[in-house]
Assembly symmetry: C2
Homo-oligomer: 361 residues x 2
């Protein structure tokens, strides 16, 4: 078993990475403080893993289950309320533990529910998608979408532990698997050139879902995220680099309707756009972008945005981004491959001219 630590003072917590951790009752139960647990999952994941998880939990615990509908389009305040309904119907009190069993949507919603139920209860994460394992389960960002913007309502709320079981990825559908890899290569691009080279080198292993390579990628991704989050928990500065591709990506997700593009797919296309804009600044080369595109294409990820978004649609969504401060858009670009930077002085006209190049006339 590998154990990483997210260093956040009195909110520090371990990330356990272990094959079969779902069956490790001793470890799981050690992190449950009270006598009650609410397992939040969804209708796709629960049939696969809920029984095994519940068999690992201490039989003395009162366990409630909440199964959310599957998909980003259900990451709403209205669906969140189902968690509160169940918690109250079953008389869960302030010492209860919310346990997220699922992908990014389940983790974000369960985490926001844990942050808000009785103003904050215990929270554990068992991510079951690659994207959740390498990204969304670590770092404490929780929340739901609003029709006008992604993740606009939420809280910074750290879990007390994250349990990552690479074995659960065996049942992950190809699109979900690829979407997670977009976030994996993101870490290489923003802060770890050696990891980027390693990922390029193992391209075929990722296509073949080689377990050893995948386990190593999960570890290095979590370690990168933990480092950045420890430095800047509430995204006052450097943490923003984790959003490479996300400003473009969120605009794609919102404009296409949540659930149409997977988050990781939108991030994949968004990273290519950020890379192209970095070329325009003279920072990286066309050849470097082509190499990135090749890798993403090998994983069957989109490398261009949809062709139905007007310049107005792009700017409308991007100006609602959380990274906009006092009307100024902050974009994450690449100073070089392996080093991201935050740009807040790109002229509006330049950005509009850029998105116009892939918008319908």
């Amino acid at each position: 078993m590998s154990t990483l630590n997210v260093q956040l003072g009195d909110r520090s917590y371990p990330i356990y990475i272990e094959s079969g951790v779902l069956n490790n009752g001793a470890l799981l139960n050690r992190h449950i403080k009270g006598k009650q647990v609410i397992v939040v999952s969804n209708t796709t994941v629960a049939p696969l893993f809920m029984e095994r998880l519940c068999a690992s939990l201490d039989p003395a615990l009162q366990v409630s289950q909440v199964l959310l509908p599957d998909g980003e389009e259900h990451k709403t305040l209205a669906v969140l309320e189902q968690i509160f309904d169940r918690a109250l119907q079953d008389n869960h009190n302030r010492s209860t533990t919310v346990l997220a069993l699922g992908g990014g949507v389940v983790g974000d919603m369960a985490g926001f529910a844990a942050a808000s139920y009785q103003r904050g209860v215990n929270f554990l994460q068992i991510p079951t998608t690659l994207l959740a394992q390498v990204d969304s389960s670590v770092g404490g960002k929780t929340g739901v979408n609003h029709p006008l913007g992604k993740n606009m309502i939420g809280a910074f709320y750290q879990p007390q532990a994250v349990f990552i079981d690479p074995d659960v990825l065996d049942t992950l559908p190809p699109r979900e698997y690829a979407a997670g890899l977009a976030e994996v290569i993101k870490y290489g691009l923003i802060c770890d050139p050696a990891f980027y080279e390693w990922l390029q080198h193992h391209r075929d292993d990722f296509v073949a879902r080689d377990k050893t390579v995948l386990g190593e990628a999960i570890k290095r991704s979590c370690a990168a995220k933990a480092r950045v989050v420890a430095e800047d928990e509430r995204e006052g500065g450097v943490r923003a680099i984790l959003n490479l591709g996300h400003t473009f990506g969120h605009a794609i997700e919102a404009a296409q309707g949540y659930g149409s593009w997977l988050h990781g797919e939108a991030v994949s296309a968004g990273m290519v756009l950020a890379a192209r804009l970095s070329v325009n600044q003279g920072w990286i080369t066309d050849a470097e972008v082509a190499r990135l595109v090749q890798w993403l294409e090998a994983m069957s990820l989109p490398t261009a945005p949809p062709d139905n978004m007007s310049v107005d649609t792009w700017t409308e969504h991007m100006l609602r981004d959380k990274k906009v401060i006092d009307g100024r858009l902050r974009l994450v670009l690449l100073e070089q491959i392996g080093k991201a930077c935050i740009v807040d002085d790109l002229p509006q006209a330049e950005l509009e001219a850029f998105v116009a190049t892939f918008s319908p006339v």
Copy 2:
């Protein structure tokens, strides 16, 4: 002007108490950090004060207004969403400031919106009811109700400043005024016997709404609350004493339907119940309860619960209280007048026998 400080490390903040503070633009604007403000108020309060407030704000600010419907029955997730809708429609970003202008319901909802919008933005409070001035605007408890329990969904989120203008109470309806006084005498009962005696001494001044006496009561109440909150921000221990009368009170509010009894009215009846239960423990005397009842009656506050609540209704609502930990109800009782204590070992049978004495057969 009086200034109190709530001492919470890097989340410390001032409470300004001043006649006409609504017109003190220099002070208000000094606490607004970005270029955008969302004023959250309700349809009753806004016609009285919104114009004056907006005239005090820096004209360079982008100001959005959200007017909620008035009343505890509207303190819901669905109504909360109206704040997010407006914030996003008007492109408010992470450096915006949410300003609550209203009573406890407005403050709780605006505060939870500030805590959750883009995972947390700036927050200022201008409480316009006595109850909000002496209690709910100070201490960082924010949230909304659930049909199954009061304040069950929310966050601990401190404002950056609280501005209290005693002059705004001139227009406060008698029921709202009395409801605030219930929380005022609570501070005397739980932690300040000298204040309790002073309140008893000035009983007729409160009936007459004497401004000097009222100003002094606001100051002493805020100081008491600030002391307790500084000691225990997240209610791990001593802060629970602020809930004297609230376990019974919340059950009354929920069972009667939110908005039927005002919060302060339910707390008034609830404090009398807590006092009677304290007599049963042999801690205070019937004569002391009678004196409390007399004072509350002089303020036209209820001193007994409604007569339509069965033992099952009582216990069902009380066992959902946030102060229940692992099935054990924690009640705030009075060891003596001026000193509260937390009791978590009252036998369930004794509590049921107690509520049975005022339940219908």
